[in-house]
């Protein structure tokens, strides 16, 4: 019985990834999808870069390391933004649009492995966007704005950089699971919830400015967010600095986030089953 269950869990995760990819990519022809996949993140990254350019020229400053901070923050923030938004919106899609939520729920593997799979699919999409944004963004800003990323390929701490991605993704999927759970028992938050969440992460996690610039004690909020530590590890490893301390914090915050997500999801599933919201469609 345990083998059967383990098999259905693994298959559910794989199917979540496969379905996520299909849902994300199958709505149009490959060329349009590729353009969308690349154009959207590049547009946001360049926007952040331009804000930096305008801001720094107004203040008379233009420092490559500050640009590096802002640029990498904006690029790697694609991971939490993509994953949390897609998982928060997933409930609405599966419950009302595709009418599959209850049928997934009553399978032996139920919801969690499927959600993880969908989160991993989003992470794969985000990875493509991150790589493309890093390459194109650095070329654009280097050639047109004389802003250079102080990254030396030979100094990058590749093990730390590579390890930070799955750890960060695990934390962001866990955060997405929490948003998914909230949407499972509510009906009108699918858009606003993910927007508020990514807004909070953007503000407190040191995406475009260090959290220490925020007034005390608000600045402490960033310390408990895995996004902060994820970005710290990424930046440190790209510069070849020691990333162990940030990595330890990332690991701890990821474990904490996974534990919270599991407890929260289990509790909310019981509430949803009691209230009968798993298959209830919005009344609008």
């Amino acid at each position: 019985m345990l083998d059967v269950h383990a098999s259905s869990v693994v298959r559910a995760v794989v199917q979540g990834i496969w379905l996520g990819w299909k849902v994300e990519s199958n709505w149009t022809n490959p060329f349009v999808f590729l353009t969308y996949l690349i154009a959207k993140p590049i547009a946001s990254v360049i926007l952040v870069g331009l804000v930096f350019v305008i801001g720094s020229s107004a203040s008379g400053m233009s420092r490559d390391d500050l640009f590096f901070y802002t640029f990498t923050g904006a690029v790697f923030f694609i991971y939490p933004a993509t994953i949390t938004i897609s998982l928060a919106y997933l409930v609405h899609e599966d419950r009302a649009k595709y009418e599959v939520l209850k049928h997934i729920y009553i399978t032996p593997s139920s919801l969690k492995p499927y959600i993880v799979g969908r989160g991993v699919a989003s992470a794969i999409n985000a990875s493509v966007s991150v790589v493309v944004s890093m390459l194109i963004g650095s070329i654009v800003f280097s050639n047109y704005f004389a802003l250079h990323l102080p990254i030396d390929a030979s100094k990058i701490d590749y093990p730390a950089l590579i390890a930070s991605i799955p750890l960060g993704v695990a934390a962001f999927i866990s955060l997405g699971v929490i948003l998914y759970a909230i949407n499972l028992v509510t009906f009108k938050l699918q858009y606003s919830l993910s927007e508020y969440t990514t807004g909070i992460l953007f503000l407190f996690s040191g995406v475009v400015f260090p959290p220490s610039m925020l007034p005390y004690p608000v600045s402490l909020i960033g310390g408990v967010l895995p996004t902060t530590h994820f970005l710290n590890v990424v930046r440190a490893s790209l510069m070849g600095y020691n990333a162990y301390e940030s990595m330890a914090y990332l690991l701890l915050s990821t474990i904490l986030m996974i534990a919270v997500a599991l407890i929260f999801m289990n509790r909310v599933e019981s509430i949803a089953r009691f209230k009968g919201t798993i298959d209830r469609k919005a009344e609008y």
């Binding site: 269950h5 259905s8 199917q15 709505w27 595709y98 009691f274």
Partner: protein, 355 residues
Amino acid sequence: MYAVETINLSRVFELKGKSILALDDVNIRISKGEILGLLGANGAGKTTLVKILSTLLLPSKGSAYIHGYDVVRDAKHVRRIINLVSGGETPGYGMLTVRENLWFFSQLYGLASSLAKERIDMLIKDMELEQYRDVRMHKLSTGYKQRLNLARGFINDPRVLFLDEPTLGLDVMNARHMRKYIRDWVDEDSARTILLTTHYLAEAEEVCDKIAIIYKGRIVAYETPLALKASLSNGVSIQVEIFSNDLTSSSSMIVDKISRSSGVLACMLEGFDGDEDEKGKVVKSWSNTGNNNRHDYNSNGDERVTRLRIMLDDDSKIPDLVSMLVINGYKVLSVKRDQPTLEDVYMRYITSINE
């Protein structure tokens, strides 16, 4: 051990400060290899019961077991052996093909790849979906989407299948195909069991081994179709065809008048599918299996014909009934004595409860 067993199962919904009793001490036992038809009007509690049994909803009181597993405590075990098909829904991903949709669900049930492929091919053939195998779901007609929905329900070869109004919205041919398939499916393997909810009486009579009538959350009758009909042996069932030139006379007025007559146990319009209003009063409605020419017109086009099904306690009351209709301005076109049907049973039970 029963395939499905409920013990004093109750469910209360809180809605805007009001408590609504959706299920009230429901006790059913379905043996393996059996199809139980759960008959009831809209809002009677059919879907609530199915939701609890399929682990989508928690009961407020009582317990329910699927093959001995508690639906609350052992939900994981229950989910391995059940599946659910809801009529009127077309669950699935529009951008996936028929085959891909079935593959997705086969994997959620943990089916090995070779077994999944084999079963998908078989179901595609059984549901006559071969030519749509690689067609995206959003391009299918409603009938074929429903067939895909039904195929999904069989993907894990469940021991207990819940069919919640599976023929809702289907045309006659698709509904017939579906009914035949589910009957054959249970007959093939005595370990398979189906709980089918419907408000189509003819469907329940055709497919089910036993029938439970649910009314306002309570099981009010639970027998084989034959035994239920036999329970009416002390009554007489007749079909009456009348017409009236009075165009202001509604069908409900006729039914009301007849229902209040002496010796009339129950009265309904032919093709009644068992809907009730908020007060539990029988109201008229037409099933997809019935004749939908409720308000026929004769060759002149101005006379109104109504067909009624009436239960009398004694056939000596027929002349009195005809006289009453004539006195009230109706012309009696025909009176035909008939065998009791499930419609009569349903009508009798509901009427007696309301009395």
